[in-house]
Amino acid sequence: MPWAPGSNRRFSMLKYANPANFLWLADRLIPWLGAAAALVLAVGLYLAFFVAPADYQQGETVRIMFIHVPAAWLSMFCYGLMGLSALGTLVWRHPLADAAQQAAAPLGAAFTFICLVTGSLWGKPMWGTWWVWDARLTSVLVLFIIYLGLIALWRTIEEPALAGRAAAILTLVGCVNLPIIKFSVDWWNTLHQPASVFRLGGPTIHPSMLWPLLLMALGATLLFLTLHLMATRNEVLRRRLRRLTIVAAQRGERAPLAAGKVA
């Protein structure tokens, strides 16, 4: 019987770290979280296109900001989440931490890719170039490559526990890139503008653009969390399938045909 609330297990936050309980919770959270993301993003997009004014210098291209900045935020948030999961894998050897970390990597790569492409499409009309090798752009490109490297590492090492530990160590080493990205605009001369939202002394963006931007960032974060829950659930199921397939093979049974393809 799957565990459900009301049974006599002692309550603790850690119970959701048990994979079976995690699946139960994820199944219930995902629809609500997804609906909240859709709602917030819909309101955010409406404000971004119909309420926020065009920028006095950048004109209408400032609309790209409403996806570029949330994508940039998530590219770093996702890596921070993976860093915490890596600690969970290395320090507590928790299987769910490794599943969460593995599920996050492709999402991080996707949002970093969106950040780079939208930045390039914004740079061409505003800076006159698609790309420059300056500190901010290059450090974000390095982040993208680290994501791809991590995904490749998981695929290269067949033993999941070993792959998890190797990926966790590489993830922690890669964390050094996060402050470099954040402060690159202060430490080096770059075409990229300095921070205008999260800075000492408060945001420098006018409220008519700041509020749509914050809503878009919130909506994108909700979407990320929904996708991360879904992907982590998939990883837990994939590991269960792998285990069941191995057990079945050891018993000398014929493993179900489709299992090998997905495990």
């Binding site: 890719f113 492409v117 499409l121 009309p125 269960r240 997905v262």
Partner: protein, 50 residues
């Protein structure tokens, strides 16, 4: 949207395409994992590990 409409539309189009791809893949992955797991008899014990 002015003279730069193409850049704005392209930025939003790439974002929507990537996100739809990720959402679609995640849903598809879940469906085929569920299908593959159904071939195993239901177990009384739930996992000890992921």
């Amino acid at each position: 949207m002015g003279e730069h409409a193409g850049f704005i539309i392209a930025a939003y189009a790439v974002t929507v395409a990537v996100l739809l791809g990720v959402i679609g893949w995640t849903l598809f992955d879940h469906a085929r994992l569920k299908r593959a797991l159904q071939r195993f008899p239901a177990r009384g014990d739930m996992d000890g590990g992921a």
